[in-house]
Structures are given as structure tokens and as C-alpha cells.
């Protein structure tokens, strides 16, 4: 393993801090090396409409997984945090008379920065922007030449967050609410009566990439999460409201998901090589 790769080894702070850093003062921690990571799994309800495929809404179940990391940066005198959020979901919906089904899947990646306004030791508000990339599909099991709809769009989101640390019986809880909404972006969409055969086989791409903003893509994602300490672990319970909408090329779409998710929160500390060299090799896994 080369020197640079070795520097990037991430060790769990919960394991190493007691042995390595216990003697250090808290303010000597480089906060930009401390990452909060949470992998979650969830299930919920989805409501899907895509008038390219059908005039009818399809409602059903939504399975979702997500991975989120947050850490402070050196930007803005150390008041800016970076958030990396990746989620994937799969929905299975049926029409109102239950004689046809729709499958849908989306992968969504958000990456961006928040300025942190620390209103008190326990409460802070965050505001910033995110890059919001989405790729997915909606597939109608019955249609002929318009069986599926490709969903592909990239946005610049405005994002706001509130984080409250509080204690109940000396146990530390964290309540967080976050709201992201796209301000400006680009979206792929066929024109109203244009087949994917015409786009991809005949190469008629004109008019399929559209600028989006609040007027034609009023969407939002909101998260309400509670971190609960259980023994040595911290569990995160999240309600995710993922409300994606668009009205582009005279095609109306919405993909509403209300999902409850659960996962474990990990706090990871990235050690520099100098710090790593202080570690006896005998306690290192590699």
C-alpha cells in the first residue's frame, strides 16, 4: 500500500479515540476530520404520475436505502460543513382498479456545503447549496411504444437545516430537520408525443434537454431525523418526504415518496499519517 493510500485509512473514532486521543483536549480535535456517517434502510408509500405513460396515478410501496456523511471543512473559518447524501429507491405501484402496475427506480446523489449558524451550544441552523443528480426510470407494464420513461436531471438545490442536540436522562439525542429544493437545473425529457425510438434510434435529440427551475420543477426533499442512543450505538430514525415534480415538454410527472428509514450512526475520525505512525502496528488491522 503506498503512502497516499495509507493516509486515507479511516478508523472508527469510537474505537480509537479512547486509546489515541484520550489525553488530548477536545478542542485539539481537527473537526474537519470528524465525519458523521449513517446508512439507512426504509420503506414507505409512493405516488407516481407520468402523463407520458398514463393519465392515472399509480400508488404503492417504496423501498429505499441511503448513505449520508457530514463533516466540517476549513472553509469559512471552519463554519462550513459538507454533506454527501446518496440514496436509491425502488417503487412498485398499481393503478386505482389494480389491473396494471408500474415499476420505478431512482438513484439520487446530493453533494454540497452548508454554512453553520450556531445559535447556541445545542442548536444550529444551516443554509447552503447542493448539487442534486438524479437518474431513474418509470416502467409501465402494459404500454406498447411508450413503455417507460427515463428520468434524468441535475439541479442546484437550496438547502436549509436545523440541528438540535438535547439530553433526556443524561442521554444525548439529536433532532434534525432538512429541506432541499431545486432552484436551477437541466432535465432530459422527450417531447409530448415523441417516442424513445425516435430519440435514440433515429437520433432526434432536439428539445429533449430542458432548463428547469421553480416554475416547471417545484420539488423538495425533506428529512426529519432523530438520533437515539442505545447502549454504545446510536440509531437514527428518519422520515423522508421526497416530492419530485416536473412539468416539462407538456409532460407532467410526480414521484411522491413518504418513507420511514432506520440506520446506525457512526462517527469516524480520519487520522493523518503522523498520527497513524504513533499507533503501534500491533493494534492495526493492516
Amino acid at each position: 500500500m503506498n503512502y497516499d493510500t495509507f493516509r486515507t485509512l479511516i478508523l472508527c473514532i469510537e474505537l480509537l479515540l479512547p486509546t489515541v486521543l484520550s489525553a488530548q483536549k477536545l478542542d485539539s480535535l481537527r473537526t474537519n476530520q470528524l465525519t458523521v456517517r449513517c446508512v439507512q434502510y426504509g420503506i414507505g408509500h409512493s405516488n407516481i404520475l407520468d402523463t407520458y405513460l398514463s393519465t392515472q396515478e399509480y400508488k404503492g410501496i417504496d423501498f429505499r436505502t441511503s448513505r449520508e456523511t457530514m463533516r466540517m471543512t476549513n472553509i469559512g473559518k471552519g463554519n462550513v460543513s459538507v454533506q454527501n447524501f446518496l440514496q436509491a429507491d425502488f417503487s412498485f405501484g398499481k393503478n386505482r382498479v389494480d389491473n396494471n402496475n408500474t415499476l420505478a427506480g431512482m438513484v439520487n446523489w446530493n453533494y454540497g456545503l452548508h454554512y453553520q449558524f450556531k445559535l447556541s451550544d445545542n442548536f444550529k441552523l444551516l443554509a447552503g447549496g447542493l448539487g442534486d443528480t438524479n437518474l431513474g426510470f418509470i416502467y409501465n407494464l402494459r404500454n406498447s411504444n411508450n413503455p417507460a420513461s427515463l428520468r434524468a436531471y441535475i439541479n442546484l438545490d437550496a438547502s436549509a437545516m436545523a440541528i438540535w442536540h438535547f439530553h433526556i436522562k443524561k442521554k444525548a439525542f439529536v433532532l434534525r430537520y432538512q429541506l432541499n429544493t431545486p432552484i436551477l437545473g437541466v432535465m432530459f425529457s422527450p417531447e409530448m408525443g415523441e417516442s424513445y425510438y425516435e430519440i435514440f434510434s433515429l437520433g432526434h435529440y432536439s428539445g429533449t434537454i430542458k432548463l428547469t427551475s421553480l416554475h416547471n420543477q417545484p420539488s423538495l426533499r425533506q428529512f426529519l431525523s432523530l438520533d437515539i442512543p442505545i447502549g454504545q450505538q446510536q440509531i437514527r430514525l428518519t422520515y423522508l418526504g421526497d416530492l419530485q415534480q416536473s412539468h416539462v415538454n407538456n409532460i407532467k410527472t410526480h414521484y411522491y415518496s413518504n418513507v420511514f428509514m432506520v440506520g446506525f450512526v457512526k462517527r469516524l475520525y480520519k487520522l493523518s499519517n503522523k498520527e497513524l505512525q504513533k499507533l503501534p502496528t500491533s493494534i492495526q488491522a493492516y
Binding site: 393519465t55 409501465n140 411508450n146 437550496a158 409530448m192 417516442s195 425510438y197 425516435e198 423538495l220
Partner: protein, 334 residues
């Protein structure tokens, strides 16, 4: 700092207030709701109203009188099917669990000019068969190809093998009679083996809005020559009224090639790419969404005329002969 944050919060709140739900009116699952939904789907998405000179508002007035809240599904299906019948379009269908409303007059009202049993006699039992195509070399050294369904895929490899086998022939007959269509990719794949240069074959437009005349500009469609074997000898394509949709497109492609002659009856048409939607009661509706034109921007919705009109004669049928195949053989052997 706090003031700036307040502004951001206010901005987001404003966005939420201004941001409206993107939704489509969900009609009730009643006879009235299903009727209105079907009429609206066609009104906004069907592509041949002006070409066919159909007053769709008038159709609404006529057929809405037959809709009552207590009518059963069979009666509703009949009224909706009849309303769609005014479009005279083989690509327009209404599907319930018990029936399919259709307009098939584009071939039912015309002579068939095709006899399956006689065709099978030409093929015999020792014909080659690959990917939905049947072919053999007839006794006068004419290759005979029958392709009865463009839904059955055909690859360049299959066509290369077929044309290699038929290479010794003086000419070939491609019989697409009674082929009701399928995939347009199969149509262009097969046609691409009969040209050695890129050829303009057609144009397509598609709906861009809900108005009856909201269309994109015409986009040219070219037939690119295959990378495989390109047949350079004479070809005759046999057609009848049952050649529809992707088969209509194949005939249109072949019509643009100088070594190809179209022989038989006018095709059935079907020049609109069909899309699907649905009603509140779950019935599916298929409709023409984007019109295709020939290379001179003429509509092909109602069919393509052959270069040589030939009908199946009863005398030939009685002798077990196919007039179209025999005429084609004579022409290719001249």
C-alpha cells in the same frame, strides 16, 4: 449572519408557497368520468385530427348523449368504441378485460389478395426458416422470402445468411402480405440490405403540445446501408391491404430504392406511431401519437400504392397458383 439566514428561510418558504402540485385531473371511475377522460386523451394526443378532417368537439357532443350514470360496462365499452371508430385508425384501440374495440376496415373491406395455403405450397416443406423469415429458391432460380410478422425479430446475421444463400438467384421476391406490423427496427434492418447508399425515406413529426396542430418540425429519416451483404439485383415486394404499421414503413423504405418494385395491392397504412394510455376504470387505450410521412412529405396513414397493381385471380387460385408471385417471377426473369 442571522439576518441572512432569515432571508434564506423566507426565500424557501416563498418557493414552497409558489410551488404548486404538478398533477393531472383524476376523473371519477364512472361512465361520465371514463368518457371524459378518453375524449380528453384523444383530444390532446391524437395526431391525425386535421388530416382526417375530424371535428372532435362535435364527436363529443354526439357520443356524450349516449352516456348515462347507470349504464353497464358493456354498454359503455360499445359507446366508447364507437366514438373511437370515427377516427378510422387501425392504431386506435380500446382494451377492456373482455373485449378489444378496433377499426379494421382498412383491410376487411378489401380483397385479401393472399392465400396462406397457396403461399405454403410455394414454400413446400424444405424451406429455410430463421427469425420469423421463411425463404427458399423457386424452380426458376428466383428467391422467395416470406416475412409475416415484423414483431418477430430479424438480425443482420440472419439476413446476411439468407442473402448469401440466395446469391445465385436472378432476383428475389419479398412477400410481406398479411404482415400487420411490429417493430420498426426490424423493418429498417431488413431494408438496409437493399441499398448501397444512404437514402432519404421518410419524415416524422410528433406532438409537442395539446393543440391539434401542435407538432414538431418534420425530422428527416434516412435508411443507412447495412454493413453486411447488400443485395444489388432486382427485388419485388408483394403487398396487400393487410400490410400495416411497421410493414407500411418497410414498404415505404423499399419504395425509395431504385432496384425495388412494389407489386400487389395498396397497403393498409398505419402511418402513426401508436402510444398507450388508460382510463380511470383501467381500460387501456392505444392511439396514433406521431405521424410518419413519405420522402415527399405525403401522409402514409391510409396506405402506399404499389408500382404495379395485381390482384389474386380466382382462376389462379383454383389452380393452386398465386397471381402475385407468378407475376413477380415473370418480371424478375425478363
Amino acid at each position: 449572519m442571522k439576518k441572512r439566514f432569515l432571508y434564506i428561510i423566507l426565500l424557501i418558504a416563498l418557493i414552497l408557497v409558489c410551488g404548486s402540485c404538478v398533477s393531472e385531473k383524476q376523473y371519477s371511475d364512472t361512465p361520465e368520468g371514463n368518457f371524459e377522460q378518453l375524449w380528453k386523451i384523444m383530444d390532446q394526443k391524437y395526431c391525425f385530427f386535421d388530416y382526417k378532417k375530424i371535428d372532435w368537439d362535435s364527436v363529443h357532443n354526439v357520443y356524450s348523449k349516449y352516456i348515462t350514470s347507470d349504464m353497464d360496462d358493456n354498454a359503455l365499452f360499445e359507446v366508447l368504441g364507437n366514438m373511437l371508430g370515427t377516427l378510422k385508425d387501425g392504431h386506435v384501440n380500446l382494451y377492456s378485460t373482455g373485449n378489444t374495440a378496433r377499426y379494421w376496415s382498412w383491410y376487411e373491406n378489401y380483397p385479401e389478395n393472399f392465400d396462406e395455403n397457396i403461399k405454403d405450397r410455394y414454400l413446400g416443406t424444405d424451406y429455410h426458416m430463421a427469425g420469423g423469415i421463411k425463404y427458399k429458391i423457386l424452380s426458376d432460380n428466383i428467391g422467395y422470402i416470406y416475412y409475416g410478422d415484423f414483431s418477430e425479430s430479424v438480425s443482420n446475421g440472419i439476413i446476411n445468411d439468407m442473402l448469401s444463400y440466395l446469391a445465385i438467384c436472378n432476383g428475389i421476391i419479398i412477400d410481406v402480405r398479411n404482415n400487420g406490423g411490429g417493430l420498426m427496427t426490424n423493418s429498417s434492418t431488413l431494408a438496409s440490405h437493399f441499398t448501397d447508399k444512404k437514402v432519404l425515406t421518410s419524415y416524422v413529426r410528433h406532438k409537442t403540445g395539446t393543440g391539434h396542430n401542435d407538432f414538431s418540425k418534420p425530422y428527416a429519416i434516412y435508411l443507412d446501408p447495412s454493413d453486411g451483404i447488400r443485395w444489388q439485383k432486382k427485388v419485388i415486394v408483394l403487398t396487400n391491404r393487410h400490410c400495416f404499421s411497421a410493414t407500411n414503413d418497410f414498404v415505404n423504405n423499399m419504395h425509395c430504392l431504385p432496384s425495388v418494385t412494389i407489386l400487389g395491392d395498396k397497403t393498409g397504412g398505419g402511418g402513426g406511431m401508436p402510444f398507450t394510455s388508460e382510463l380511470p376504470n383501467g381500460w387501456a387505450v392505444r392511439y396514433s401519437a406521431s405521424p410518419y410521412y413519405d420522402k415527399d412529405m405525403n401522409q402514409i396513414e391510409f396506405g402506399i400504392d404499389p408500382d404495379i397493381y395485381v390482384s389474386l385471380s380466382t382462376e389462379d387460385v383454383s389452380q393452386g397458383k398465386d397471381t402475385l408471385i407468378e407475376t413477380a417471377r415473370n418480371l424478375l426473369n425478363k
